[in-house]
Symmetry: C2
Subunit: 194 residues, 2 copies
């Protein structure tokens, strides 16, 4: 705390099990398969004890090719920004070498799949990301029910992004997504909030 | 784009001029001095061509000791998440070795100063960050006026955070903050949006 260490970069690293999962993933052509992978990442994060019960992934819309994965790294990296969606978007943008995943300038459109409805920060990250669709498993209420305060997200927040061309689909594989949240609670995983 | 490179961490690094500025900063005991440092970071980012016209810093509330700085790194790092506030919060959390800057568990309260009103993502990051106050230079309208779409932030978004104990003070050193935005526009700096 006394040594600020401003000159040393912060590293955002995926857990090795998540890298292995990503390396063996097949293209996911359906919305259900895409959210299922995000949920598998959330489940893996809980079972491996590498973070909160949330996972996300970015795919090429047309082909289903996996572009990136993300898991919640808040506790393990001492970094409140590293939600699953933020991590997945960061890795996708690095993979493309661009701060936007929109097509154009990217050659194809991209979609974000997430195990749980984006919190206020992640919804804002979606706004800047250039993805054209967001596929969601569990709902905001499901996350709030186990104790996470998802921040200021209102119906008009989603409408604001929809008006700018981003489509949202919620409740895909919801029971499976909710089961991961329940499992996290059963294991006594920490709930952090502002 | 074909090589996903998931096993290699993403690095978030401050520009060297910003590290030098942080290393020579005196404690900032007034709100004006805190926002002035954030504006100096924004101005430096424009003049050095290292990113968008935004700067931020985290201070200990009681002493004014500088805990971290941040500048917009979206274009230079190909990363839409790296707004000034996000970068400053990430470095502050690393400095404390905790995902929250709240006291407790941190020994003292922390305040975020920013050259411009937080966008939707950054407001969400503030929600999770543990800061107790946010000091703001230019307004949302000032940023929108030069072409940045700040995302879904509504009066009730701020009220949501205020209800959880976070105080917002806007318009500090606004003319100086706005001048940096104007300078960026005069120089033809790129405007990126979702």
């Amino acid at each position: 705390m006394s040594d600020a260490n401003w000159g040393t970069p912060i590293e955002v690293a995926l857990p090795s099990w998540a890298v292995a999962l990503a390396n063996t993933a097949s293209p996911c052509r359906t919305d259900e398969a895409r959210v299922a992978l995000a949920i598998a990442l959330a489940r893996g994060n809980v079972e491996h004890g590498t973070g909160g019960p949330f996972g996300a992934a970015v795919f090429e819309e047309a082909t289903g090719r996996l572009v990136s994965v993300g898991v919640n790294l808040v506790e393990t990296r001492d970094n409140a920004v590293l939600h699953a969606e933020v991590v997945a978007l960061m890795f996708a943008q690095r993979a493309l070498g661009s701060y936007t995943l929109a097509s154009p300038p990217a050659p194809v459109a991209h979609v974000l799949a997430t195990s749980c409805a984006p919190c206020a920060m992640c919804l804002g990250a979606v706004h800047w990301s250039g993805v054209s669709r967001v596929l969601i498993g569990a709902t905001r209420d499901d996350a709030m029910a186990i104790g996470f305060d998802e921040g200021p997200v209102f119906p008009e927040s989603v409408r604001y992004l929809e008006a700018r061309g981003i489509t949202f689909v919620e409740g895909i594989e919801r029971a499976s997504a909710r089961a991961v949240l329940q499992r996290y609670r059963e294991l006594g995983g920490p709930l952090y909030n502002g």
